[in-house]
């Protein structure tokens, strides 16, 4: 089954780094957006399987985008990818419905681990 990933981050390098860490089995589709609002629009149109969302972005920040995305689709799997790894900040986005927090910089291992959790969750 083809998987659709949405990567929302204002830094192209950061999107590139993340993309290189996502294991691709079979066919995968990657969608990208450079700010929260664009990300939200793509999210609504394309209904990605998994969304990676940065927090600090222009136009609309990640926290707001996360809220809007969860409003649109409460079951969506949204992974917050951030450098802000203070316990408090992590608690905040988890309370808003994030599936998980991916600490930047991403590694192949840390991304695989999270994708496995997504699979387990979906199988249930």
């Amino acid at each position: 089954m083809a998987k659709k990933f949405l990567l929302v981050d204002d830094s192209p390098i950061s999107r590139k780094m993340l993309k290189s860490c996502i294991p691709v089995e079979g066919v995968a589709e990657f969608l990208e957006a450079g700010d929260g609002l664009k990300g939200l629009n793509v999210f609504k149109e394309a209904s990605p399987d998994i969304t990676f969302l940065d927090l600090t972005m222009p136009v609309m920040d990640g926290v707001q985008a996360l809220e809007e995305m969860k409003k649109h689709d409460p079951d969506a799997v949204i992974i917050v990818a951030t450098a802000d790894i203070q316990a408090k900040s992590i608690e905040k986005v988890m309370a808003l419905g994030a599936f998980h927090v991916l600490k930047k910089p991403p590694t192949k291992d840390s991304v695989r681990e999270i994708l496995q959790k997504v699979d387990e969750y979906r199988r249930r």
């Binding site: 390098i13 780094m17 450098a83 790894i85 600490k103 930047k104």
Partner: protein, 213 residues
Amino acid sequence: MEQQVCHVTEDEKDILQEIMNIAFGKAAADLAEVINIFVVLNVPRIQVLKGAELSGYLREEISDFSDLSIIEQNFRGKFRGSAFLVFPSGAGKELVAMLDADHEETFESGTIDLLEKESLMEVGNILIGACVGKMSELLGDVVTYSPPKVVVENHPNEIIPNNLFNPEYTAIVMKTLFQFDDRNISGFLFLVTTHDSVAWLQQSLARFLEQYE
């Protein structure tokens, strides 16, 4: 002759910004967990300037402060330069309270000023050490530091030394706004790399990115 002006590409700026972002995130997390200092470090901005433009740039950036204190600390390694921490005046008092510095000697005339100044320097030292330390760690370097100095004390923004860097040389300026969570203090952190570390920095950025090719 050594090349005097380095060209820094947009991609390099982007990756540097990302690395700073990651480094500052780690710094803030460790500061909170290990040292109980809760600080928010905002997304850094990168500027590539010539040494001659530096003091004008810094003056412009801090023109919103009417009164300020600046703490300077140099770091030396392959990653090399100066860090400037800009606090609004009055921050000293808040920091004394934040650090819970003991007041046993407030009796002596002038000790309160000294306590404030020392608290500024201690917080400056820890904040700069955390940010620069995490950055050099990501870039694969180990740096040493000069003692922190209060270079401007409760002054309007007049005195920024003009001769910080060779006017012809490239300086990369990384600026970030920080706030202490539970205190009403915010300020700026500037990291200015010297010319001779720019080439090394570019190599390290490339090496960092290689992991993601």
